[in-house]
Symmetry: C2
Subunit: 254 residues, 2 copies
């Protein structure tokens, strides 16, 4: 009878550090933005070498939980939740992720997010969304700033959805998509049309019409995708055939 997969406590010291910091976060001792003690001092406290401590901190930093600033200190991440920054990018290199797949994932997630935002959004969110829409119309001729408010709008929708996990997933994908996006030279007419779509989405959310919000967001994102020629190709490269049963089982048991 095969045992079910269970991860190996490979790195004792590393996990010790990770679990220690984890508990500090869980009991509220450490909060987003807080600075942890200097490495030399912290290592002495935990009775481990500085090297091991650094391994653990590096682990946390890789996953976006900690933020290291050379010459300043190490801090608990305080931005919007997001998985390891290079994560998606690296996984893409490893498993051959395509840009259209990122768009597809984003459309699916964010459409639902809009619906949830329409159901659960609070007054603060409505106000913030309205502000961003106004800013978008005010910066139609300023692409750089327009993009900022565009991103902000979507981020607020994520927050309004009341599900930080979905928000974090979106944030990760958007972040990976951002580089490609900034290269697209949007025309002014595109921005006006885009701004008006955002306004409609905002109205649907404020009016608590989940179905409509979802539909509008889906429409908006598909248009944005088309504007960058990132649609799914009609002929996909042949996806790898499913692995044999034995191979599938092998990865499921330890």
């Amino acid at each position: 009878m095969p045992r079910l997969k269970n991860e190996e406590p490979n790195t004792h010291r590393t996990m010790h550090v990770v679990n220690h910091i984890r508990s500090l976060i869980e009991n509220g001792t450490l909060q987003p933005g807080d600075k942890i003690p200097p490495e030399r001092e912290f290592a002495r406290t935990l009775k481990i070498s500085r090297a091991s401590l650094r391994t653990g901190i590096g682990y946390l930093a890789a996953m976006g939980v900690m933020k290291i600033r050379h010459g300043v200190g190490t801090f608990v991440a305080d931005g919007p939740p997001e998985f390891g920054k290079a994560s998606l990018s690296l996984m893409g290199a490893l498993h051959g992720f395509q840009t259209w797949q990122m768009f597809e994932a984003r459309i699916i997630l964010e459409s639902h997010l809009a619906a949830l935002a329409a159901e659960r959004g609070k007054e603060e969110h409505h106000a913030a969304l309205a502000e961003e829409v106004a800013e978008m119309f005010a910066t139609l001729d300023d692409p750089a700033n327009y993009l900022i408010h565009d991103l902000m709008f979507h981020r607020i929708v994520s927050q309004a959805s009341g599900n930080p996990i979905l928000a974090a997933l979106i944030e990760t994908i958007t972040s990976a998509l951002y580089d490609k996006r900034r290269k697209t030279v949007e025309r002014s007419t595109d921005r006006r049309e885009s701004a008006e779509m955002h306004r409609e989405i905002y109205r649907a959310i404020r009016a608590r019409k989940p179905v409509e919000a979802r539909k509008l967001m889906d429409q908006h994102l598909r248009m944005a995708q088309a504007a960058q020629g990132m649609e799914r190709p009609s002929e996909r490269k042949p996806s790898p055939a499913p692995r044999s049963k034995s191979a599938r089982l092998a990865s499921l048991v330890s």
Copy 2:
């Protein structure tokens, strides 16, 4: 005006290692399952210290790209794509993720995945799904093995969707959810009902009925959620008031 992004070329050596390995993966020199050279030798090749090399490898391992085995070697990950295992768990501790939110994310993602699988699934996937369904019926009285085939069924649906990014997101969430799930003592009648739902999902996918597959998967997952009492509470508990920074720092020296 808020700045957009603040890139962090913090760790020169670390990123050097990461980018090097990344390029090795991208040009096909390294493939999933491959072993990288021993640390001492690799460090000499890259003309950096072993410590720095280890920092970079640790970074990749934290994100699930590499797999380190003490006393054996370091390998490129070969399992299903998945973000750092502890990632979601740690982010949860940091941002207060709730179990019902994980379920919600899973339901949304996997329902769509079922629809995509119905659109794009190939013969191999249909065959593999049929096999898993059969195994589920054959192991109704063997909870441990039943669970294996349950997980396998969902994993094949992910593969059949043709979007490895969505599959990776699901895998990450499922992995985090797994611990809680295994504790639930399922009754035999529950398993029979569950197996029949899987069979219906399979039939919808094979018949290429996306809407039906999506609906059935949604229904199945909501039932599974209910079976574990993980529904979204009607009244969410208010987040605890943050302690003062001085108080937090005081208890940091354990």
